[in-house]
């Protein structure tokens, strides 16, 4: 029997992995197993054949290619134009510093024995031995900051919840934000589908630390595979004593469940997510009070992004210092970067913070998929700035990007070639905000609609026409109002892509006055 691995990741399935797996299952002497993706998405479906040399990969395989590949000796790892050699030795993988993605794509995602064999549960075992305050200090020492985009120190957040508990709060909750709605970001999805136990372990460490007995994973409905995988993983972890009444033999109790969103981008904003988890319209709450003190059902709540939780098992297993040894400036540790849009080698790439945008786009991403010059890169999702091709030397860190007028966000990069119309992208930013605004505050709800109208008037008014200059003043005024007057980051940051498009690409607006 030859074991052949075909990813079950939804990106791989979107380009035919299920058909490939079905075709291979028909072949005599082949046992098909389904792993998560390795993260080299441009190579999907990436079929791996177990050989004496290791697992040999064949890239972008279609079901129709199977007979020819078998003929060429695929089952013995023979060379072929689609063969990428031994996958574990692939330079795109070996150059990474995989902390959160350490186990991704190797085994079946819910194989708990494989998870343990790859170092899983070591962090939780250490966490239950330590005093909760020491666990918190370990996370503080790691320098980990909220990977959802806000960049707030995770350890400080946990400490706040722990202090509230020590101060007499009789209940606390742990909630994972898996409402990954930003375009160009998919690291949460890949991790949830490919290595769900890492999230379960990270959340369980948080729970036993702050004394939470209930946890919620709020997953967007657009991720059905992730929802199913997480539910399976939770059941398996409970069977093996990592969840339930006696977590890892500690005598402490923790129950975890997945809650499904319903197609509202705004629910990725943490207070809106809490409203939604409580079963209401996802309208943002004013802060303060902060969720760490008054979160779910008014109790102290640890709310973290999936990627923040996914860094925790390693931080506890190897120590906060080991994590903090990576990074740049005040941005410590690694980030799972997502290379998306018009890019030749798209996928997930984990590296220490501080790597430059140019390295990610050009060296690692290979430039555009169309082969045309890069014109703009949007960093950090729909609320992030468009940076022009001559500004890609910025190091990827929270402060470093802020200085360049951008933000790290959730670590997604969307690459555009020279055919992009930046006035259209600016209009889209406003349009997206108008569709997805929760409607609670006026600058966001009305401002976004007026923004679309104003950009339309700019692009439909001939250059030099009377009154055209005033439209730019009006748009800037609108941006200022949204920035300063919105309740949350949605309305507050929508002007960022708009202004960056105006600043760096004025020619696309028919020339701006300035």
């Amino acid at each position: 029997m030859t074991t052949v691995w075909v990813p079950s990741d939804s990106s791989a399935r979107a380009v035919g992995a299920d058909e490939v797996a079905a075709a291979l299952a028909e072949v005599e002497g082949v046992s098909v197993r389904r792993n998560g993706t390795r993260g080299m998405l441009w190579r999907e479906p990436l079929v791996e054949v177990e050989t004496d040399r290791g697992r040999v990969g064949y890239a972008t395989v279609a079901a129709d290619d199977i007979p020819a590949l078998l003929e060429a000796g695929m089952l013995s790892g023979a060379d072929h134009e689609t063969c990428i050699g031994v996958v574990d030795e692939d330079p795109w993988l070996t150059a990474q510093d995989r902390v959160s993605l350490a186990r991704i794509g190797v085994a079946e995602p819910t194989d708990i024995h494989a998870y343990e064999a790859q170092g899983g549960w070591a962090g939780l075992r250490r966490a239950v031995e330590l005093d909760p305050a020491d666990v918190v200090e370990e996370v503080v020492a790691s320098g980990l900051r909220g990977r959802g985009g806000a960049g707030f120190p995770t350890g400080i957040k946990w400490r706040t919840v722990l202090q509230a508990r020590d101060g007499g709060a009789d209940q606390a909750f742990v909630a994972c934000n898996l409402d990954e709605g930003d375009s160009g970001t998919f690291a949460d999805r890949i991790l949830a589908e490919g290595d769900p136990f890492t999230l379960v372990e990270g959340m369980t460490i948080a729970a036993v630390t702050v004394g939470a007995t209930e946890g919620y994973i709020y997953c967007r409905s657009e991720y059905p595979d992730a929802i199913a995988r997480l539910r399976d993983a939770i059941a398996v972890a409970a069977e093996h004593g990592y969840l339930g009444d006696d977590v890892a033999g500690s005598g402490r109790s923790f129950r975890l469940q997945v809650r499904v969103g319903a197609g509202a981008y705004i629910c990725g904003e943490e207070t809106s997510m809490l409203e939604s988890l409580e079963g209401r319209r996802g309208e943002v709450r004013a802060k303060p009070p902060i969720p760490a003190l008054h979160g779910l059902w008014d109790s102290p709540t640890v709310v973290n992004n999936l990627l923040s939780f996914a860094a925790i098992p390693m931080i506890l297993a190897d120590g906060g210092e080991a994590y903090a040894a990576r990074g740049v400036g005040r941005s410590r540790g690694t980030q799972v970067f997502q290379l998306a849009g018009n890019i030749a080698r798209g996928g997930v790439y984990e590296a220490p913070l501080g790597i430059t945008l140019r390295e990610l786009v050009e060296d690692i991403g290979g430039g555009t998929r169309t082969g045309r010059p890069v014109r703009a890169v949007q960093v950090g999702g729909p609320l992030g700035a468009y940076l022009p091709a001559d500004r890609l030397d910025v190091p990827m860190g929270y402060e470093e990007l802020a200085e360049a007028g951008g933000m790290l966000g959730h670590g997604g990069l969307v690459v555009f070639d020279d055919t992009v119309d930046m006035a259209r992208m600016a209009r889209f930013a406003m349009e997206f905000c108008s569709v997805e605004s929760c409607g609670k505050c006026t600058p966001c709800r009305i401002g976004s609609t007026r923004g679309v109208e104003t950009i339309d008037r700019i692009t439909s008014t001939p250059a030099g026409a009377e009154g055209r200059d005033q439209l730019f003043v009006l748009l800037e005024d609108l941006c200022a109002t949204m920035t300063t007057g919105s309740l949350c980051a949605m309305g507050g940051l929508t002007p960022v892509p708009v202004r960056s498009a105006l600043t760096h690409f004025p020619e696309d607006f028919g020339g701006s006055p300035r």
Binding site: W42, F186, R259, E283, G341, G412, V414
Partner: protein, 160 residues
């Protein structure tokens, strides 16, 4: 007061089979914390959409106002108040897919299915398939690197 009135009416006019089913589904989740979204998902999975009588039933069971339940249903793009079309084409219009031609794909989908009432074309913002765009979900199945020709292929597989 209104609640008491409703209960009296219920004794006189029995619930429809649909309402009974909705109540039964809702009861399964009623003991959970913040159960409304879970209930709405389950009711929509059962009936295909959320009707006025479902809203009334859920509100009654959870002791919420009808306005509160209706307001929650209408807030979220996923919940529908009418039956779904036979076929669903959901095209991602977000930035990463726009970088590889989503605007053209969206326009083509709208045009191709404009005359078909049995096909619902809807814009979606991100399936998390941003490295292999443009992305679309056709009858619930996610696809990557979708071309205009793929829409024609999908349509040719549907009986009219």
């Amino acid at each position: 007061m209104a609640r008491a009135g409703r209960q009296q009416t219920e004794e006189l006019t029995p619930r429809s089979a649909r309402a009974e089913m909705t109540r039964e589904i809702s009861q399964r989740h009623a003991g959970e914390r913040g159960p409304l979204l879970e209930i709405l998902h389950a009711v929509q999975a059962e009936h295909g959409y959320i009707a006025d009588e479902d809203v009334m039933e859920i509100a009654d069971l959870l002791n919420l106002s009808v306005a509160e339940v209706h307001g929650t249903v209408s807030f979220y793009h996923d919940f529908r108040r009418r039956p779904a079309a036979d076929h669903e084409v959901h095209v991602c219009r977000a930035e990463a897919c726009q970088a590889v031609g989503a605007a053209e794909l969206w326009a083509a989908a709208e045009e191709r299915f404009a005359h078909r009432e049995d096909v619902e074309v809807r814009e979606v913002f991100c399936f998390g398939n941003c490295a292999l765009g443009p992305s679309a979900s056709i009858d619930g199945r996610l696809r990557g690197r979708v071309t205009v020709d793929d829409l024609a292929t999908a349509e040719s597989g549907w009986s009219r």
